[in-house]
Symmetry: C2
Subunit: 432 residues, 2 copies
């Protein structure tokens, strides 16, 4: 067969993970000399920055996801496989999969991302799920909406009060955004819809171990964020490291917080697949330490990119775990592979910081871009525009934009739906 | 407390079920002399006629659902409780709930709807889920999309072929609509997105026990439907009653069909709660037989409305299990309660048939309305307009309308997302 012959004479690049890094690598490898196989255990690319809006009933799950194979519909040299990566055999240059036959590669790109980290307390996951996948976000949406429903049916007033306590752990962008969206959900969106309870009396606690929120922003912006959140009804607890998480409670900074739903946005660690990379240098969290060109030390044909990487770049900048950094790394890796093919020199990766932003709530956000520090409405409009531009697919952009306009004008959220009322099976829930 | 006093002096109507019947009853009971408690085990009203589009990845779950308590946000006399109805004690006039305290009533409206019926073979549910709830629709969407993904990763060609066989049981509107949407998904939407399989070679079988599809339509329309479906790639099997359903296969009309996903759209039966109505006359399927005014014989304070009812109306018309009939019954029940309060006479229910319609695929449908029989594009445009008008909530209307336009112009579907890749636990799945 011609196709097979053509394929066999091409360089075969296997890309693990269809996040920002994997996607950028695949796109940049649109070259007839290269055959790409993209593996992801999900069938979609997920726009993680808006995941908190799925969890807080603002957006539907499909709004922020795009089928991976549809993204590469027109790029003939990419084959997408939905499969689990079981193990990577670096010596045999082979990837072992959960369903399909093993794949051998000429080049391997590891873009498996990060998962929620619990600082060695993996048992906490059962009581405090993270916010990294659509399954987690829709699970949290269900738990949050159910808490209000259960409070409305509860006959015991103490039980009602208990059900309306929510704890968000972690004062980074995800924690801030989730806490803000949750406070608005209770105080504005739901406020007229109940007869027996007052959803506005819900308590949202945001817990952070450090002395300030959003450590990557200026002290003024961190302080602005705290004040805005408190005005919106969030109680912010700084210098409060979590020491215990159990069913219905969190202990942090020596204080015990009742919590009917706890959301963990406090730490990340590398994908567990990295543990199978015999000989690759990992940090404690399982993230891969790479050479300046993003290849594994001593393995020129294996690269890592995105949140799975721990890297201080050639300019001495610690590369943050954000979408633009992952995209830049993915593209850089593809360029090194093409450089090899063209018998050109490889280059060291240099991170270009385009800025950071975090939304707090309606009409308010903080941003550091173009060398300037923004707060309030301008930052919020900037945040919305940037997120719409980087969201994949015109259909999703239109859908999210309309949802936002609708929410803004009507104080409503379109995804206040509990899809599945059956109790989840705990062990299924925490399978990682 | 004033509220309690006012409430106690009002007539308390308990409405079981927030489907079309329950919703219509609650709305018509917007009267200061009445206090309404609406119980549903879901937190939303579901627009079931579009459920097949959620199952076939055309719409997101929140697009066709509306939170019940939000619907009654402005109707102060309605309290909405999300709870399971465990048992109705007709003598004590009491409803027992899964979570909350029991409720006593002056009037009871049973609008619990129908669930999928398996003609006495409840064990088939495990292999052939129905299409009545969002949980079922999102489960089917997952199974359908996974079948294509698994076929793409499969190394055995026989396994690939097997995975691309789908069986829809039941040639009524839901079966026809699902089979048509599934054929279009495989042959048009997915066709360019795979590299190893040709999704266009998927087999969709539509199986019906009767000698024609859509029995409520004219023979010409039934025949038109069959021909259109076959042109779209659906293989229609008439006179083929199902005798066996197992993992991966269906036996019907003496023939065995391989099936990686089987969808059951063949029968309905009443809610199991009706079995707790001691003394109420039920048919074999658990549906309630009511007096002409829709009250239970000998129980003037208990009414039933919607799909849970088995009724030949005052004009000798057998009332069908469709949304307009449920709405008319719900409204009629509310009017009888108000008639009692006004010390007026009760009236017998008379069904006003507004027509029927079923969509087949892109630009093609059949309809019987205004005394005329429509097929093709005019019927399809009529079908779309009517469904948009009856869909609850302007936000959902806009969202669904845009999804349809996008699908029409781009041959795409916006909800091709597998939210949860973890295997469902079989016993959780079939819990009813």
């Amino acid at each position: 067969m011609n196709a097979t012959t053509a394929r066999n004479s091409r360089i075969h690049v296997v890309v693990l993970g269809g996040g920002f890094a994997g996607l950028a690598a695949c796109r940049r490898l649109d070259d007839p000399r290269v055959q790409v196989t993209l593996i992801d255990r999900q069938n979609h690319h997920l726009f993680q920055p808006l995941l908190y809006q799925v969890a807080t009933a603002g957006l539907a799950a499909p709004d922020i996801a795009q089928p991976l194979r549809h993204i590469f519909s027109d790029q003939e040299n990419v084959t997408t496989l939905m499969d689990d990566v079981k193990r990577v055999d670096l010596d045999a240059r082979r990837v072992e999969l959960g369903h399909g036959s093993p794949l051998t590669y000429d080049y391997l790109v590891i873009g498996l991302g990060a998962r929620t980290g619990y600082f060695g307390h993996d048992e906490w996951i059962r009581h405090a799920p993270g916010l990294k996948t659509l399954a987690e976000a829709t699970h949290l949406r269900r738990e949050l909406l159910l808490a209000f429903e259960r409070a409305e049916t509860a006959s015991d007033p103490a039980e009602r009060d208990r059900l309306l306590n929510f704890v968000v752990v972690g004062g980074g962008p995800t924690g801030v955004e989730t806490a803000g969206a949750l406070a608005e959900l209770a105080r504005r969106v739901l406020v007229d819809d109940f007869r027996r309870i007052d959803p506005g009396r819900a308590h949202v606690h945001l817990i952070e171990a450090a002395p300030k929120l959003l450590t990557m922003f200026t002290p003024e912006q961190s302080d602005y964020t705290r004040r805005r959140l408190e005005k919106m009804g969030v109680t912010v607890h700084l210098n409060a490291p979590v020491s215990e998480v159990g069913k219905g409670y969190v202990v942090a900074g020596g204080k015990r917080f009742e919590s009917s739903v706890t959301i963990w946005a406090a730490g990340v660690e590398g994908s567990p697949v990295t543990r199978t990379l015999a000989g690759a240098p990992l940090d404690r969290g399982g993230r891969v330490q790479v050479s300046p060109d993003l290849s594994l030390p001593g393995r020129r044909e294996v690269f890592a990119a995105g949140d799975v990487v721990l890297l201080t770049d050639v300019n001495g900048v610690r590369v943050p775990g954000v979408a633009p950094a992952a995209t830049q790394m993915g593209r850089h890796v593809a360029e090194q592979i093409l450089a090899d093919i063209n018998q050109a020199e490889r280059a060291a990766f240099a991170y270009r910081d385009k800025g950071s932003m975090a939304t707090i709530g309606r009409s308010t956000a903080v941003a550091k871009v173009f060398g300037m520090h923004w707060t309030g409405l301008p930052a919020w409009l900037l945040w919305m525009s940037v997120h719409l531009v980087f969201l994949m697919g015109m259909r999703n952009r239109i859908g999210v934009f309309l949802s936002w306009i609708w929410s803004y004008c009507r104080w409503q959220r379109g995804a206040r739906i509990i899809v599945d009322t059956r109790e989840p099976v705990p062990d299924e829930l925490v399978k990682r």
